[in-house]
């Protein structure tokens, strides 16, 4: 139980008044960063990194990791209220969170989102506390083939979910893949699909596409429908938090499943975005109320938020123990560690006990403080939907434009955002689902890279995807997820029918 003793020491460090102050400031900044679309956690942490150079490494990492928690919490707010994902991993939250807000249940959706985030993070931190060294070894098993297996599983658990005809889903996904292929081909170092334009050199950034497709597309739709938010505006009810909490324990199975998916994705490291998509897809398959997903089902908010936060938290583990960041924000934190003179890697847990356990203790406390802060804001946030559309729409539009600009400090991106907005509007009017497009855009190039790396290593032989137990079982899981409806049908037929 040496870990527990170390952890207690960590709590003692974190509970110093200065560190608690730093923690609260970090959470608040993080929530603001998460709310602003485009200004993601990675950018936010990078901008604020120099401020921490004068602090002790432990205080500095507490502040930065709290910004990270805050951003994870904050990403859900605009997804639910305005259908604009503040962070990539909140895209899946919009699927059910926004319909809930449209039905006047914004307070419930936000409470569910924040609470699930907290549960996911707590699960991940407990895992880090107890099995850190073991988990680090597991992450080493993941080569290119295994990584492709994970992406394959993410795609498979998501295919065939939408109510739209499968052909339209495939078309949307293919548009996503095509967009993901634009820019530099990482495997050959050459440009493709840029047509000689230097503006397209960097490809289509996922964040800009999402801000346009969802945010601007939504505003265009609302304009057409007569300048009003659909549904009734939420009544301000301070008890909404408690009421939602009474309901949440019913979804324990979804929560546990999402926690496990999240931790796995965070460690491997595939990141929070595939985790949230995969968890949403699987929850829809497994839940008895699965066919209501997309219409405002609270379980559809619980699943992606739990997984995203579990992944976001466990992504710090490979960074600390292996020096490989599990997410872009973890990459910036990694840079910070080096600047403070700490060497992430196998020996960090041995040589820098105070720092590591201070950080882990701050994960516990930071998430509790974060939850308290965001939950008190729920009624206030829900009340934002009462602002008339003609007032709020220009504000959203300006925030979207600023967000798109901050991603790369490039004015061209604002134009791209508007183009994606129109595309999102047209696709929605023609009943093409946006989710497969977004999924393909965010994971397409990574999946392609892993696929080609694996094939390079195996000298072109596809058997590499079944070459060991780990990758074989991931691929098998993917195939099962893909053909699940057919399997379900078959099982139903095999079962003897009760005699009438």
């Amino acid at each position: 139980m040496e870990e527990i003793a170390n952890l207690m020491q960590g709590f003692a460090t974190v509970l110093e008044p200065f560190n608690i102050g730093v923690m609260i400031i970090g959470i608040l900044l993080g929530v603001i960063i998460g709310v602003l679309p485009g200004l993601g956690g990675a950018n936010g942490v990078a901008i604020l990194l120099p401020l921490t150079f004068s602090m002790s490494p432990t205080s500095a990492i507490i502040m930065l990791s709290c910004i990270y928690w805050g951003a994870l919490f904050g990403g859900a707010i605009t997804s639910v209220l305005f259908n604009i994902p503040g962070e990539p991993w909140s895209v899946a939250t919009t699927f059910d969170g926004h319909p809930m807000a449209q039905n006047g249940r914004a307070g419930e959706a936000l409470t569910a989102a924040f609470t699930s985030s907290f549960v996911g993070a707590l699960f991940a931190v407990v895992m880090i506390t107890l099995v850190a060294p073991l988990v680090a070894r597991f992450a080493l098993q993941f080569g290119a083939a295994e990584k492709f297996g994970v992406y394959f599983l993410a795609f498979c658990s998501f295919v065939g979910l939408s109510k739209e005809p499968p052909a339209k889903t495939v078309v949307a996904m293919m548009i996503g893949f095509a967009l993901a292929a634009v820019g530099l081909d990482q495997m050959t170092g050459q440009l493709r699909l840029t047509f000689g334009s230097t503006e397209l050199l960097a490809g289509f950034d996922f964040l800009i596409a999402v801000i346009g497709l969802f945010g601007i597309g939504e505003i265009l739709l609302t304009m057409e429908e007569g300048l009003q938010f659909k549904g009734k505006s939420a009544t301000i009810n301070p008890r909404v938090v408690l009421q939602t909490w009474m309901e949440l324990p019913r979804y324990w199975a979804t929560s546990i499943r999402s926690c496990i998916i999240g931790c796995w994705m965070g460690i491997t490291p595939a990141g929070a975005t595939p985790a949230s998509f995969m968890s949403y897809g699987i929850a829809k398959r497994m839940s008895p109320r699965g066919k209501n997903f997309g219409k405002g089902e609270i379980e559809g908010v619980v699943a992606p938020e739990t997984a995203a936060h579990a992944a976001g938290t466990s992504a710090l583990l490979p960074m600390l123990s292996l020096g490989v960041p599990g997410s872009p924000t973890a990459a910036v934190l990694l840079g910070g560690l080096l600047i403070w003179g700490l060497q992430p890697g196998p020996l960090l847990f041995v040589e820098q006990k105070e720092f590591v356990w201070g950080l882990i203790a701050s994960m516990y406390l930071g998430n509790i403080v974060g939850l308290l802060i965001v939950l008190t804001c729920v009624p206030l946030l829900a009340a934002m939907l009462r602002i008339p559309f003609p007032v709020i729409a220009p504000i959203i539009l300006v925030l979207c434009a600023i967000g798109a600009y901050t991603v790369h400090n490039n004015p061209f991106d604002v134009v791209m955002m508007m183009v994606f907005g129109v595309l999102g509007y047209v696709l929605k009017k023609c009943d093409y689902p946006l989710a497969p497009l977004v999924l393909a855009l965010v994971l397409g190039d990574k999946a392609e890279e892993a696929f080609r790396q694996a094939l390079l290593g195996s000298q072109g032989s596809l058997t590499v995807f079944w070459s060991n137990g780990l990758v074989g079982s991931i691929m098998l899981l993917g195939l099962i997820a893909l053909f699940w409806p057919i399997i379900q049908n078959g099982m139903a037929r095999l079962r003897p029918r009760p005699a009438v």
């Binding site: 050199l201 080096l338 790396q453």
Partner: protein, 337 residues
């Protein structure tokens, strides 16, 4: 805290503005920045160039070395092409500087984008980054000779070399090793140096040519083993890292029969059209940065080659290096058609 910085920034801007109005400017006034300095990184967050840029930003902030804030901006798209084209398009904007790595040469050569280092104004070479040949510590290869012999005994392409990016420095070195020894690797590109190091620890690739700072944590953890360093002399850093070994105990590749040396530029350029006073301002700034303990620590941690050059000497070095990259990439068939 953010608003505080902004306030300081505006305060500084206002002060400079007022000073500009009230005090008559002497004819040969030393140039000073009047707006925040944009420090472009043509690579992603968390990589070697990014770490160096952010360390410099931290040093500049901590010691108040500039009147206006310095802001680091990553423009990594198109293997850094996005960043280079951005600075190229900022003619006569003295508030924009860029840190370079070997993609200063390799990106335009491999992709054919309309950019050459002569489009920018050279400021200073800050340091040179070393490359080391690493293998997994569980493998029996103790020297370059062991390793090359093992590759030669296996079918061609059996041994996998992991590296950062495609048609960039790691792959150029790999091809040069193949040319020098007659072995054949399968080169597998990854996104970042840290990922490459972990692929080696997980035995998914057989060797890497990671920079010291990318692999040092795994070396200290006893997971990887250095075979040789691609410099013409052994490294000067004698501080013990693991088992009585230091950077100085790694032999040069040349002494091991691998006739190749390669160093990567970590240098500063600024936007085109800069005046000598403006260049001089940044040269003096980086001289001050190099004197700080934080910078010295970064150099020791990453076992950097601490060459410093400015002016003509620097421009000549860059021109020579560009020709060398053109030759190496031509031989390897990496030039854009």
């Amino acid at each position: 805290m953010m608003s505080q910085t902004t306030r300081i920034a505006f305060g500084a801007l206002a002060a400079v503005g007022v000073a500009g109005v009230l005090t008559p400017q002497p004819a040969q006034a030393q140039w000073q920045p009047s707006r925040p300095i944009e420090f472009i990184v043509p690579a992603g967050t968390g990589g070697g160039a990014d770490q160096m840029a952010r360390t410099i930003q931290g040093i500049v902030t901590k010691y108040n070395l500039t009147k206006t804030p310095m802001v680091v901006i990553n423009k990594a798209g198109g293997a850094g092409g996005e960043g280079f084209l951005d600075v190229k398009a900022s003619r006569n904007n003295p508030h924009k500087i860029i840190i370079t790595l070997s993609n200063l040469f390799t990106t335009p050569l491999a992709t054919g984008i309309p950019f050459n280092w002569k489009d920018l104004t050279p400021v200073a070479m800050l340091a040179l980054d070393e490359f080391v040949l690493w293998v997994n510590a569980e493998t029996p290869y103790k020297s370059v000779k062991d390793y090359v012999a093992a590759i030669k005994n296996a079918p061609p392409g059996q041994f996998k070399m992991g590296g950062t990016g495609s048609r960039q420095e790691d792959q150029i070195i790999t091809v040069a090793i193949e040319k020098s020894t007659g072995v054949k690797f399968t080169y597998i590109p990854f996104r970042g140096g840290g990922e490459v190091a972990v692929q080696l620890v997980g035995n998914h690739v057989n060797s890497t040519v990671n920079n010291p700072i990318e692999a040092v944590a795994q070396w200290r953890g006893g997971k990887v083993r250095p075979l040789c360093v691609f410099d013409d002399a052994v490294l000067p850093y004698k501080e013990t890292i693991v088992d009585n070994l230091s950077w100085a105990s790694i032999p040069t590749c040349i002494s091991q029969g691998l006739n190749l040396d390669y160093l990567m530029l970590r240098g500063i350029f600024m936007s085109p059209g800069a005046t000598p006073e403006q260049v001089n301002y940044y040269v003096e700034l980086f001289k001050k940065v190099r004197e700080t303990p934080e910078w010295k620590k970064l150099m020791a941690d990453g076992a950097f080659n601490q060459s410093f050059m400015v002016g003509d000497e620097y421009a000549k070095w860059v021109a020579k290096e560009e020709q060398r990259h053109r030759d190496l990439m031509k031989e390897a068939g990496f030039l854009a058609k």
